[in-house]
Amino acid sequence: MKREVVVIGGGPAGLAAAISAKRAGARDVLIVERDKRLGGILNQCIHDGFGLHRFKEALSGPEYAKRFIERLDAEGVEYMLDTMVTKLGRDKTLELSSAKGLKRIEAKAVVLAMGCRERTQGAIMLPGTRPSGIYTAGQAQNLINLQNIMVGKRAVVLGSGDIGLIMARRLLLEGCEVVGVYEILPYPSGLPRNIQQCLLDYGIPLHLSTTVVEVHGERRLTGVSVAKVDPNRRPLPNTTSFIPCDTLLLSVGLIPENELSREAGVEIEPMTGGPLVDDTLMTSLEGIFACGNVLQVHDLVDHVSEESELAGLFGARFSEGELRPLGEYTSIRPGPGIRYCLPQRVSRERDFFLSLRVKEPMRDKKIVLLDENRKRLIQKSFPRLHPAVMVRLKVMVEKIAKAKGLEVRVE
């Protein structure tokens, strides 16, 4: 089997990329989705707030997905459900597995849109026993919203990622007592609007610089020990207290799901956990593009859609032979105050979006793009900057046309 553009994953990133690729003129575009429906994580996000930027409306997750799925059908994009990509080669061949059997597909361009996974109890090395009652926030969201299954009666939420905040409110609304949200950092990891709408509006306490240091219970969870932490995130002695609970929700970070990319040989950037990309969102492998949460963890689906449309567009252009991989390029590196920025390499041939996150919350600062001579090419003021809020700057090609090296920093 051969296809012009194959998109791996039918979540928000995959949908937007596939529609865009098709509109850009790719003859056949195929989405491979492992779930039994399109939409990905949006299907379990029954809260609203999706699409505020894009559609100027507060949609629920499924509603947001529906708008894309309708366009996908209208464009005639082909998709396979209940089908897993088990292997991706650097030559853009894919191996697929489904109830119908195994299949090999040759693609002219591939768009990686596999999303991300949640960090677990093991990944954060949470000490203690192994009782039942410990869930990642996304697991609980799936069980409650899609399977009508209630996970517990008295919950502690560890970590203040957005899904954790959303689920703290959700549990409360379903009659579960929510003792509080505990965050090891001195500031929340989720969006300010979620802190307000999910915690403050419902009187759920948020404890900063505090973490769970041990879980208890040999069968079902019986409680957790929490403690304050010092600036190096080490638990402070004599601050430990025991909180009885039967449920612990973890919202301690998301990890781009790049196992397929890694096996294919795509270069992964340690700071984002996603592929290193250029200004066409092409990875280090020719004709393989990446977008959405597999590239960098986003906080707004609207940005995922926007980014993925570009990946789809460039995927289509590559498949038509209209896009060459970067020959000479200019690197952009994160400077003071910046945790990461993306793309890491640019051609200086086209405009692009620069995505970045700052290291810590700040007020009244500027984000500045400098060239190799410290000359300011772009600067933008922000009354507030927060690591939870991704910054996206449009960079016009004429601004950087002569730069040999670029650095983005906070001033």
């Binding site: 109830a99 949640e118 093991g122 990944a123």
Partner: protein, 488 residues
């Protein structure tokens, strides 16, 4: 239950030792039962260890540990073939870091040879480097017969093979009282049932001293000694071509923190070595995790903190108290004063390796009480294939999917486990229905996302296809319920 039946042999404890005995004895015309306090077999030390098939260099010549280790090691290959269990003789380097440790390597070699360990060699740096690129140290003892096996798969398959040959497994049956009336043992379980048998075998591991006490045997005490581990992502598995252990240090109870490759390609860092107060103390600790991570990073410079996917611990059933330390030999005895009571106690390392040989020893002891007659219909082979679907070739996979479409549906993306494998696991012959039983049988929820993706899918399969209600889901033990009911 068949209350009226009297067993010929009752085995207390379905760990690797109990199950190996059950399977060995199922070759004879005997009525055999196994009592296990947990809801699945192998829930204690048998599933919580390094999964190493030891060569036998570490034990004093003439001890049971030496003899049974070497014999057990030689039995593993055939047994794993019959039971469809993955194993591999990947060998081991015991490495001296400094001159003062060299002597102990030669002593180990001599001891190993006295024990009958095959193929031992002292290797210099360049030869060490060939076996394990990047290995530290100045000299090493190489033992080619050291192997790896998945300890819980092995334990489960022993039980399934025994079951296939007629052994009854009674799970969730904690023994609380034992009485001997004439030539019959009456064994009472916590739920009020009584089992009767002519022969009683104590393979209760960490609880074996408690079982002894129920029979008035007071001379033994088990001191649980914890070993904590970290499990690392498969990303790093290729680094380890063979096992690498530090040269022995005098007076230490374990074999030192080391890296062990599992048959599935993960790496274990551990085990630590601390006495604890109770055989139920399975909590991991921040202190030890930090030590393991630090030592791990020294042994494997490529290791990132984010490579840790889980921590766990197991308990060694030691006979020596903390102030004494070291090892004592296995106890494997027929208590003549309580005729028909076969007592196994203190089976710590190398218990996994020795299990098949311990079973033979027990068979010999049994002949002091019963006349054994071989069955002609013993089934040595388990059906199915070794390993996981994801490990088969493209053609084998295609063939299986064409016969059974559920092989095409991948439920666990990290490990590539299919819906058919999950369904087979839930329909396991022993009838275990906990989620941890699926984890141990089908390897779901074992990968880097630890069930983040597959747990909801498994819940859906069990709900839709097996009629589970939310209240029916248990993680591992009685009372470890997952859900409190429907949302509405």
């Amino acid at each position: 239950m068949d209350q009226g039946t009297r067993y010929d042999v009752l085995i207390i404890g379905a760990g690797v030792v109990g199950n190996a005995i059950a399977r060995e004895l199922s070759k004879y015309k005997l009525k055999i039962g196994v009592l296990e306090k947990e809801l699945d077999v192998g829930m204690g030390t048998s599933s919580r260890n390094s999964g190493v098939i030891h060569s036998g260099i570490h034990y004093k010549p003439g001890t049971l540990r030496a003899k049974l280790n070497v014999l057990g090691n030689s039995m593993f290959e055939r047994l794993c073939r019959e039971l469809k269990v993955k194993m591999s003789y990947i060998g081991k380097l015991t490495v001296a870091q400094e001159d003062s440790e060299i002597k102990s390597l030669y002593e180990l070699k001599e001891q190993g040879e006295a024990n009958g360990v095959p193929g031992l060699q002292i290797l210099k740096r360049d030869e060490m480097e060939k076996l394990q690129p990047g290995v530290g140290g100045i000299l090493a003892l190489y033992s080619p017969s050291t192997g790896i096996v998945c300890p819980y798969t092995f334990t489960i398959r022993l039980a399934e093979s025994a079951f296939r040959n007629g052994v009854s497994f009674w799970l969730g049956k904690k023994v609380v009282a034992i009485e001997k009336r004439f030539d019959t043992f009456l064994v009472k379980t916590q739920d009020g049932e009584t089992f009767t048998s002519r022969v009683l075998i104590n393979s209760a591991g960490l609880y074996s001293d408690q079982i002894c006490r129920l029979l008035g045997i007071e001379e033994y005490k088990i001191y649980p000694c914890r070993g904590e581990y970290l499990i690392l992502d498969k990303r790093l598995g290729h680094h380890l071509k063979t096992l690498v252990y530090p040269a022995p240090h005098h007076g230490k109870a374990g074999l030192g923190i080391h890296l062990t490759k599992t048959v599935d390609g993960n790496i274990l860092i551990g085990p630590s070595n601390e006495y604890v107060n109770s055989p139920e103390e399975y909590a991991t600790t921040r202190e030890i995790m930090e030590v393991l991570l630090k030592e791990g990073k020294e042994l494997l410079p490529d290791l990132e903190t984010s490579d840790v996917i889980r921590s766990f611990c197991g308990l060694r059933a030691k006979q020596t108290p903390p102030e004494v330390g070291g090892f004592r030999d296995f106890v494997i005895e027929h208590r003549k004063e309580i005729k028909g009571f076969i007592n196994l106690l203190g089976i710590e390392s190398p218990g996994l390796t020795s299990a098949p040989a311990i079973a033979l020893t027990v068979k010999d002891l049994l002949e002091e009480v019963l006349t054994l007659e071989e069955r002609e219909d013993f089934l040595s082979e388990l059906p199915g294939f070794t390993g996981y679907f994801s490990e088969l070739s493209y053609e084998e996979k295609m063939d299986l999917i064409s016969k059974e479409k559920d092989y095409g549906q991948i439920v666990c993306r990290c490990e590539g486990i299919t819906k058919k494998e999950v369904i087979d696991a839930i329909q396991n012959p022993l009838g275990v229905k906990t989620l941890s039983s699926l984890r141990y049988r089908a390897r779901v929820m074992m990968g880097r996302c630890q069930g983040g993706f597959c747990l909801p899918r498994i819940v859906e399969i069990l709900t839709k296809e097996f009629g589970f209600r939310p209240e029916d889901f248990l993680l591992h033990r009685e009372g470890s319920y997952l859900f409190t009911g429907n949302v509405r």
